[in-house]
C-alpha cells in the first residue's frame, strides 16, 4: 500500500510534465489558428465586406508574440533550434559533455534575465494599453516570464540529459527555413 503510494508520488512529476507539454501544444495550435483567421479577416474585411477591421493585425501580432516565446520551449524539446556543431563534433565525448555545464549555466541565466525583465514589463504594462484594441499591454508581456520559465524547464531537461549522457550532445543542427 505504502509502496504503491510512493510510486504514485514518484510518477507525479512525469505526469505533470506530460500534462504541461500537452497544454503547451494545444495553445500553440490555437495561436497559429488565431493568426491565420485574423489576417484572413483583415483581407476579407477590406475587399469583400468593405470595412477595415482595425484590431485584426494587432490580434495576429499578439498571437505571434505568444507563439514565438512559448514555441521556443517546444522547439527546445523537439530539438528544432539551429546550432552549429562543426566544432563540438570533433571533441571527445567527455569533453563535449563537460563543456555543456558552463554552457547550460549561461543559458539558464539568460532565461532568468528574461523572466525577471518580463515581470518588470508586466508592471509597466499595467498602465499601458494597445493602440487598436485598447487591451492592457500586460496581455502580450505575460508571455515573457511564462515562456522563459517553460523554456528554462525544457532547456534544463535537454542540457541535463546531454550532460549525464542520456542523449547525445549534438542535435543534428536543428531545422532550417533558409
Amino acid at each position: 500500500m505504502l509502496d504503491r503510494g510512493a510510486r504514485a508520488l514518484a510518477a507525479l512529476p512525469r505526469a505533470t510534465l506530460t500534462l504541461l507539454r500537452r497544454l503547451v501544444e494545444l495553445t500553440l495550435i490555437l495561436l497559429v489558428g488565431i493568426m491565420v483567421v485574423s489576417v484572413l479577416m483583415q483581407v476579407l474585411g477590406r475587399y469583400v465586406f468593405n470595412f477595415s477591421i482595425a484590431g485584426a493585425s494587432e490580434v495576429a501580432t499578439f498571437a505571434q508574440i505568444w507563439m514565438v516565446l512559448l514555441g521556443a520551449g517546444y522547439a527546445m524539446r523537439e530539438r528544432l533550434h539551429v546550432s552549429i556543431e562543426t566544432f563540438v563534433e570533433m571533441l571527445p565525448v567527455w569533453l563535449a559533455r563537460a563543456i555543456m555545464v558552463p554552457v547550460a549555466i549561461l543559458c539558464l541565466w539568460f532565461l532568468w534575465v528574461v523572466f525577471e525583465g518580463g515581470l518588470l514589463l508586466i508592471e509597466v504594462g499595467a498602465i499601458q494599453t494597445s493602440a487598436a484594441l485598447q487591451l492592457s499591454m500586460q496581455v502580450p508581456y505575460i508571455a515573457l516570464p511564462v515562456s522563459a520559465a517553460y523554456f528554462g524547464l525544457e532547456a534544463a531537461l535537454a542540457f541535463g540529459a546531454a550532460i549525464i549522457g542520456r542523449t547525445s550532445v549534438t542535435t543534428g543542427g536543428g531545422v532550417r527555413v533558409d
Binding site: I84, L106, G117, T171, V175, R176
Partner: protein, 425 residues
C-alpha cells in the same frame, strides 16, 4: 568586451542553440558594463518579435508544409514534365522547373529541396541517371527558393534593414528566372557528354501539356496568388501568405484529397515549432544588434572603409566573398542577423542602393545553401539520394557556375535587380 566575445565563442563552439549564442553574448555585455538595466534584454527580445511583417514567416512555413503534403508538389512535377520533359536530360530540367514553381509558394530553399528530392530522386535513380549529378541538380534547383519570392531570408532581411518586403520580393524575380535558365543550360551542356544515357526524353505533345495543365491548375493557384498578389500590390506579403495557406488547404483537402482534417493540427504544431525556432533568434539578435548600434560600430567601420577602400565595387566583391564563405558554415538567418547591422550602413555610406544590396545579399546566402561542406540543400539532396556529400561535391561546381555568374550579374548590373521593383512600385 573580451568576456562577451569569449562567451560568444564558447557557446558557439559547444554547439549551443544560436538563440542562446546571441542572447547570452548580448545580456552578458550589458551585465558586465552595468550601464544599462538588464530589463533591456526582455524589452529588446519583445520588440524583436513584435512585428506584423514577420507574420509572413509562419504563414509561408505552413504553406510549404501544405505544398509538400497536399499533393501540390506532385501536380507541379506533372506539369513540368509535360513542359520541359522533351529536352535532353529531361529529369534535370523537370527538377529545375518544378523547383522554380515551388519557389513561388514556400519561401524556403530547404523545404523546396525536400519536396522535390522525395519525388524526383527515386525516379532519376530508376531511369539510370548519374545520381551524384542528380543530387547536385535537385540541391541547386532548391537554392532558387529564397531568391524567387516568397523568401523567408528576404522577410528577415527587410525587417533588419528597414526595407519593403514587397520590393525585395520583386527584386528577386528577374535574378531567379535568369538562374533557372542558366541551370537548365548547364544541365543541357552536361548531358551532351552521354546522350545515350539521357535518351528518356519524350517528344513534346500539346495534348499531354493540356492534360497536365488541367490537373495542375488547382495547384498553380498557390504560386499565382502569391506572385500576383505581391506584384499587383493588392495585398501585403503577409496577407498573400495567408491566402496561399487557405487556397492550399482547400486544394489538399477537397481537390487532390491527399490531406485530411486530422493532419491539420499536426501541421499547425510543426509550423509553430519551426517558426518559433527561427523567430526567437530574431528576438535575441535584436539585443545583439542594438548593442552593436549604440557602440557605433557600423559607422566606425563605414568610415574606415570609405577612407581606406573607398570604392563600392571593392566593397561588393568583399561582401560577395565573405558571404559565400559564411554561407558554407553558418545558417543564413543567423548570419544575416549578425552581419547586416554592420554591412548595410557601410553599403549606404558608399552610395549603394539599399534594396539592391539587400537582394544581392539574399542571392549570395542562397548560393551558400549548396556549397560544401555544410550547405543545407546539398545536405538534404545527399541524404535522400543516399550519396555522400563528398561524392556530390565533385560535381556541384557545375550548377554553381551559372549561379555565381547570375550573382555577379546582379551585383554589378544593379538594373537586373532594381528594374522590376522600380517599374511596378
Amino acid at each position: 568586451m573580451i568576456f562577451t566575445f569569449g562567451s560568444f565563442l564558447l557557446l558557439l563552439a559547444a554547439g549551443a542553440p544560436m538563440v542562446f549564442v546571441l542572447g547570452v553574448a548580448g545580456a552578458l555585455t550589458l551585465a558586465v558594463t552595468g550601464a544599462t538595466p538588464l530589463v533591456v534584454v526582455a524589452q529588446r527580445l519583445y520588440n524583436g518579435i513584435d512585428s506584423f511583417p514577420l507574420l509572413a514567416i509562419p504563414f509561408f512555413v505552413l504553406a510549404g508544409l501544405i505544398m509538400e503534403q497536399g499533393g501540390i508538389a506532385r501536380a507541379m512535377v506533372g506539369l513540368a514534365t509535360a513542359l520541359v520533359g522533351w529536352i535532353r536530360g529531361s529529369m534535370y530540367m523537370v527538377a529545375t522547373v518544378t523547383a522554380t514553381g515551388l519557389s513561388a509558394i514556400s519561401g524556403s530553399g530547404s523545404a523546396d529541396t525536400a519536396a522535390i528530392s522525395s519525388i524526383l530522386l527515386p525516379e532519376m535513380k530508376k531511369r539510370g541517371y548519374d545520381l551524384d549529378y542528380a543530387a547536385a541538380t535537385v540541391a541547386s534547383a532548391g537554392s532558387l527558393g529564397p531568391i524567387i519570392p516568397p523568401s523567408i531570408i528576404m522577410v528577415v532581411l527587410a525587417m533588419i534593414s528597414d526595407l519593403s518586403v514587397g520590393a525585395m520580393f520583386l527584386g528577386g524575380i528577374v535574378p531567379g528566372l535568369i538562374a533557372a535558365a542558366g541551370l537548365m543550360a548547364g544541365h543541357w551542356l552536361y548531358t551532351r557528354r552521354e546522350p545515350e544515357r539521357y535518351a528518356d526524353a519524350q517528344p513534346f505533345e500539346l495534348k499531354r501539356l493540356a492534360t497536365a495543365l488541367r490537373e495542375a491548375l488547382p495547384a498553380l493557384s498557390m504560386p499565382v496568388i502569391v506572385v500576383v498578389g505581391i506584384i499587383g500590390g493588392i495585398v501585403t506579403p503577409t496577407e498573400a501568405a495567408v491566402l496561399a495557406v487557405v487556397a492550399g488547404l482547400f486544394i489538399g483537402l477537397f481537390v487532390y484529397r491527399e490531406m485530411t482534417w486530422r493532419d491539420l493540427p499536426k501541421m499547425m504544431l510543426r509550423t509553430a515549432g519551426i517558426s518559433s525556432a527561427v523567430m526567437i533568434i530574431i528576438g535575441t539578435a535584436s539585443i545583439f544588434s542594438w548593442l552593436v548600434a549604440i557602440q557605433d560600430v557600423p559607422s566606425m567601420l563605414a568610415a574606415w572603409f570609405a577612407a581606406n577602400v573607398g570604392s563600392a565595387w571593392v566593397f561588393l566583391i568583399v561582401v560577395n566573398v565573405l558571404l559565400l564563405i559564411v554561407g558554407m558554415f553558418m545558417e543564413s538567418i543567423s548570419a544575416l542577423l549578425i552581419l547586416m547591422p554592420v554591412l548595410m550602413p557601410i553599403a549606404i555610406h558608399l552610395g549603394i542602393d539599399p534594396l539592391h544590396f539587400g537582394v544581392v545579399v539574399a542571392i549570395n546566402l542562397s548560393i551558400g545553401l549548396i556549397t560544401p561542406p555544410y550547405g543545407i540543400c546539398l545536405f538534404i539532396a545527399c541524404t535522400v539520394s543516399g550519396r555522400s556529400v563528398m561524392q556530390v561535391s565533385r560535381v556541384i561546381w557545375i550548377p554553381l557556375i551559372p549561379l555565381i555568374l547570375m550573382l555577379l550579374l546582379s551585383t554589378y548590373v544593379p538594373q537586373v535587380v532594381l528594374w522590376l521593383p522600380r517599374a511596378l512600385m
